[in-house]
Amino acid sequence: MRPFLTLTLATLFASPALATEGVLDVVAPFEIKGADPSTSGNIMIKMELAETLVNADPDGRLTSGLATEWQVADDGLSWLFRLRPGVTFHDGTPLTAQAVADALAHARAKPGLLDTAPITAIAPEGEDLRITLSQPFAPLPAFLSEYRALIYAPAAYDAQGNATQVIGTGPYRLTRMQEPLRLEAERFDGYWGQPARIAQVTYQAVGRAETRALLAESGDADYVFNLDPASVARLSGVAGVEVLSVPVPRSLLVKVNAGHPALSDPQARRALSLAIDRQGLAQAILRYPTGADQLFPPSVADWHVEGLEPLAHDPEAARAILADLGWQPGPDGILTRDGERFALTLTTYPDRPELPLSAAVIQQMLAQIGVEVTIDSTNSSEIPVRHADGTLDLALLARNFALVPDPIGTILTDYAPGGDWGAMGWQNDAFTALIRDLAAGQGGQDQRDQAMAMLQADLPVIPVAWYQQTAAVSTGVSGAVIDPFERTIGLSQMDWVQP
């Protein structure tokens, strides 16, 4: 009996034991949903398996990627991208203008940012790539730096244009992919640029924040992306781990249906905004020192306006504004006007655990000024659904403004004049015109400042907080970075620290 048990145990627990020495382990919450850039490109770009035509530095300035340079014609309707010579895909085929054009055509056929750009054609022109537009569109290079515009080899795509394999050009080459949680990669010796320093890397998706922090603490993971507030505080005191933190262009917002009878007056929206104690919420729930006093954080220098009057917390003023608008407290303290109760539903989603918590806090704060809020924490897709059918009152959401390093793309889809994750029932023609001009490449800092002042005055959404991105890095590695645009972790430039 005993030898049998030992044997069974050995078989159960055995698979070839691999040495972990010399393998860099990356841990993040994102699950691998497949090979296609549209579903899991955010992982492929961080693991440097594939690259985009255009890169961005941590300040959001565009730098060369698979394209070395680009020019726009005088009429703004045609862009020429010069492709980097001597680049090969991981399957040994060369990077050609046709391959790039095909990859971008596949990307554009799927829902995403690229399909919102006014592109009419993407075609090779000799060794270069020509993109023609129906109207001038200045942020085009920024759009091409997004992970959904990663360039894979022709052999990676099936007949429908979905990538079934990851065949990119990056400094790392995929060796094994086990959806949904794990992939392994090794240095690609045919890389065109500076070769990766560490030969082998792994990616492991771990959904629970506690586990990610424990993996950093135990030294099992070398780079742990996205920590929860409590773990940041704890890991900061742990030897062998360094915590990196950077403000990211992601804001916690209350989306407001400006078409709702109680919310159509900008003063009513201002009253809701005045009821929210942003600093209290940020410190209690998110553990950040301050809340948001305008839409963009100071780190997004082009769109953060220094002189803008900050959004304040003043429940007294909020009550006074609502009284001016004709709202009177009913017997239960909830405001009424012409027999209508000031009662709203706040839709949010639990994918980000701080959202339902923040919703509960906001519910309390709005109750203080006599506004009754019912929280509906449901699937995130209910927000676009209710946006489309007009049944949304309020939504609490976290919006990333820098899917591309230039926030104009997101502002255009969300606020000019409205979008699923932005303004609803709100129309400001002067704002829309300003943003469209900016997107076409006309105007500069003054126009951006004006546009932001309009949002601050009209409040189609009520900013609540700015997010920080955090990572825990082993002190045994050097070269790790945390990127506000979440494109890179510095993987190929990381190296072991020699003791």
């Binding site: 048990l5 145990l9 159960l12 627990f13 055995a14 698979s15 070839p16 034991a17 691999l18 972990t20 382990d25 841990v27 699950e31 949903k33 497949g34 296609d36 549209s38 579903t39 955010n42 799927k110 829902p111 995403g112 399909d115 919102t116 979905n162 079934t164 086990q178 959806e179 949904p180 949680l181 794990r182 392994e184 492991q204 998706a205 771990v206 959904g207 629970r208 506690e210 586990t211 424990l214 993996l215 603490e217 135990s218 030294g219 099992d220 994918d351 449901t378 699937n379 995130s380 897709s381 209910e382 676009p384 659904v385 946006h387 489309a388 959401l397 976290a398 919006r399 699923d420 994750w421």
Partner: protein, 312 residues
């Protein structure tokens, strides 16, 4: 006799396959929310879903066609042993299930084996001396272990074994030693129950007249246990362990998510959120068939242990 039993189980498998297919399909149709939006959220990420993305998904998958047509397609595919393609990842459902169900079975098997090494032997020892110090101590210990929720047990083990002692990796999947902590987390909870089961069964057997007779005719305690004890509690134990196994495969989502272990429970939950109908149907089908197969195996084993029913 055994062939008739197996034939009965095979017929049962057919009925289960059909019912599971129909029921999962109906339940998925009955879920609230717009399917195209849910699929788009599952594919592109929770804050990437827009009305445009949902419209594209609707057109691509033909979600406008009547539901019964989709069901007939699934039934036809099933006839050709084809489970279809996931609407989220675009990969064959069979490939997805194989990896994740394989990982769940691996973990459940390891946990059950570990628990069988810990629980029943202790329970048998306690049952042989019912009321003794081991019996009383074990009652306290197993109640305590049973009362600790799995997620807490997992975190305690990670903190003790991985962080304080640096013996094992805290979480992950891919290397041999990754399985030990999640398996142990599950095994401790299981052993707590199986020890009590074994103790009660053993105490019952040990109190029977034939046991006293065996002692009286001069058999040693070891001989008594091997020849008369184990076989008598075997039927109850095998049935109980097979039930535990089913619970494990379906119910280890919490432990899997703490340890970053791929698993069928997690896959099923995500497939339901993402309205991935082929994936849900395929998973439910295989879980249902697995249940039938396990029942058949349990029947066979209990008949081998206790052949009286057949001879009678």
């Amino acid at each position: 006799m055994i062939w008739r039993a197996l034939g009965y189980r095979a017929a049962q498998a057919g009925v289960v396959a059909f019912l599971v297919g129909v029921l999962t399909f109906l339940m998925m149709q009955a879920l609230p929310g717009d399917m195209a939006f849910r699929i788009a959220a599952g594919r592109y990420g929770y804050d990437m879903v827009t009305a445009d993305a949902a419209a594209a998904v609707r057109a691509e998958l033909g979600l406008d066609r009547p539901a019964w047509a989709a069901f007939m397609v699934w039934l036809g595919d099933l006839g050709r042993l084809d489970l279809g393609v996931s609407v989220i990842s675009g990969r064959p459902v069979w490939d997805e299930i194989r990896h994740q169900m394989g990982a769940s079975l691996h973990l459940a098997g390891a946990a059950l084996l570990l628990s069988a090494l810990i629980g029943p032997p202790l329970g048998i020892l306690a049952g042989l001396r019912a009321g003794g110090w081991l019996d009383r101590g074990l009652l306290v210990l197993s109640s305590g272990l049973r009362a600790v929720p799995q997620f807490l047990m997992g975190l305690i083990l990670i903190v003790l074994v991985s962080i304080q002692l640096s013996w094992l990796p805290a979480a992950g999947h891919g290397r041999a030693e990754h399985i030990i902590l999640p398996a142990l987390t599950l095994a401790l909870g299981l052993a707590a129950v199986s020890a009590r089961m074994a103790r009660d069964a053993m105490a019952g057997v040990a109190a029977r007249p034939f046991y006293a007779f065996g002692r009286w005719k001069g058999l040693s305690e070891g001989q008594m246990l091997r020849r008369h004890g184990l076989r008598n509690i075997g039927v109850a134990m095998v049935t109980f362990l097979s039930l535990q196994f089913v619970m494990l495969v379906e119910g280890v989502v919490v432990v899997e998510s703490i340890f970053g272990w791929p698993g069928i429970g997690h896959a099923l939950v995500h497939a339901i959120f993402g309205r991935d109908v082929p994936m849900v149907q395929g998973t439910a089908l295989l879980l249902g068939l697995g249940f039938v197969a396990l029942n058949a195996l349990t029947d066979l084993l209990t008949r081998l242990i206790d052949p009286r029913e057949i001879r009678a």
